[in-house]
């Protein structure tokens, strides 16, 4: 079966599993004591952040591979990954406030993960905008690769900046959602959700990649 179909099947599977995640999270996972039902957003919020980061990592890796090997497929994959990464970052950035409001009474907290994802989102948007304003395909690929590599190397610095900033400005104690001290069934739901989001990432990227390839074959200049 060709790439588009394969991508569609994976995405479909991912979406079905996502529905199962919701079911499991809402009906079969215990309600968290302090935060109540609102906490359940966490099972979507955290894996979405993970997918966004995975997407960025792959953009960076493909950028390096493109510059070294000059294979256009890497550029196409990087672009697809950036688009999917933007979507997932947006999911994370919208579920964040939805979670924060009932619990902290404020829409936004400058917590480490949220801040990092916000800047990740800006990086993705910049990457996609850059691709939008360059008309020549070869130039576009090279410029994107340069930005992708710079973005990848920026991430540890942003992480460190946020970390330093937070240790100086103690935030209200966010319940440590990613600590392994989660009770078994919550951890299971979370891990299940991680898997589903990774699958969704793959499905979306493959579809997007296949779409790019089709467009290029038909003679469009926009990948």
């Amino acid at each position: 079966m060709n790439l588009v179909h394969r991508g569609r099947w994976i995405t479909l599977l991912g979406l079905v599993l996502l529905a199962l995640v919701y079911v499991r999270a809402l009906a079969f996972t215990p309600v968290e004591r302090f935060q109540g039902p609102a906490q359940k957003i966490f099972y979507v919020h955290v894996p979405a952040a993970w997918s966004a980061m995975l997407a960025m990592g792959l953009v960076g890796l493909c950028s390096i591979l493109y510059l070294v090997l000059k294979d256009a497929r890497f550029d196409r994959f990087a672009a697809a990954s950036a688009e999917v990464g933007t979507a997932f970052s947006l999911v994370m950035l919208t579920t964040g406030p939805i979670w924060a409001k009932p619990i902290w009474g404020t829409w936004w907290t400058w917590d480490a993960r949220l801040t990092l994802t916000l800047f990740l989102f800006f990086l993705f948007v910049g990457y996609l905008l850059l691709r939008g304003v360059v008309t020549d395909a070869g130039l576009r690929a090279r410029y994107s690769a340069v930005l992708g590599i710079c973005g990848l190397l920026l991430l540890p610095f942003i992480h460190l900046s946020v970390y330093f900033f937070r240790t100086l400005h103690p935030q209200p104690i966010v319940l440590k959602p990613s600590s392994p001290s989660l009770p078994g069934s919550m951890l299971a739901t979370l891990l299940f959700s991680f898997g589903v989001f990774t699958l969704l990432y793959l499905g979306f990227v493959i579809q997007r990649y296949a779409l790019s390839r089709l467009r290029e074959e038909r003679g469009g200049s926009h990948g």
Partner: protein, 226 residues
């Protein structure tokens, strides 16, 4: 290596001579800096928020805006004078070109900052006397960081549509580490905190500078070759 530095200096010197002869970009950046500082100073309520809390952020917002005005100038100059092709055909290495442009940009931004800092002290009445040297140090470290990345990106955006818009959009995430560090260190210095407290930030700034100057040097040829 000697050649590389020599050529870089030739390029930088040419840029600086041209800039000081025409002065337009420099004057615009300086006037802009003064305006921003004035607006910020005028608009705030000194009874509501202590100056010392707000001052570092204002200083650095001003410096980064001014720097972004400056950055476009570097390769725009070559484009306008139809000289970029000549530079690329000449035997100088791409590294020389990048370092030359970087140096010229740094001097340019330094001049703007040299005007901005006294104005800042004047308007906001902050005690810089005792901490002038470390303050200049952190200004230098942070400036190198974002000018290094900005010079690389400015080479890319000149060949795109909406070049002046694209540069700030692309550069924004890359300003975060140097700006955050600069604001934090400036705040601590002005508050009279001991230097040991800002060691972590200074190391971060230095690391950022080293990593990104190296990375930009490495990636620059890709952005100018066809």
């Amino acid at each position: 290596m000697n050649d590389v530095l020599r050529h870089a200096w030739t390029v930088a010197r040419k840029d600086l001579v041209l800039e000081f002869r025409t002065r337009t970009a420099l004057l615009s950046a300086v006037v802009f800096t003064a305006l921003v500082l004035t607006v910020f100073n005028f608009g705030r309520d000194p009874t509501a928020v202590a100056t010392i809390d707000l001052a570092p952020s204002i200083l650095w917002v001003t410096f980064s805006f001014a720097a972004m005005l400056a950055l476009n100038r570097a390769f725009q100059l070559e484009l306008e004078n139809q000289a970029l092709e000549g530079l690329l055909v000449s035997p100088i290495s791409r590294t020389s070109l990048y370092w030359g442009k970087l140096l010229a940009n740094l001097v340019f931004v330094a001049v703007v900052e040299a005007v901005g800092l006294p104005l800042f002290v004047l308007f906001f009445d902050v005690p810089v006397g005792r901490v002038l040297v470390p303050l200049i140090g952190v200004i230098a470290l942070a400036t190198i960081g974002f000018v290094a990345v900005g010079t690389l990106f400015s080479a890319m955006v000149i060949r795109t549509r909406f070049a002046e818009l694209m540069l700030p959009v692309l550069l924004l995430p890359f300003l975060i580490p140097p700006l955050t560090g600069a604001v934090q260190v400036t705040a601590k210095l002005l508050a009279g905190r001991p230097l040991s407290e800002v060691e972590g930030w200074l190391k971060l700034l230095a690391a950022y500078d080293i990593v990104f100057v190296a990375l930009a040097t490495l990636l620059f040829p890709t952005t100018v070759d066809e």
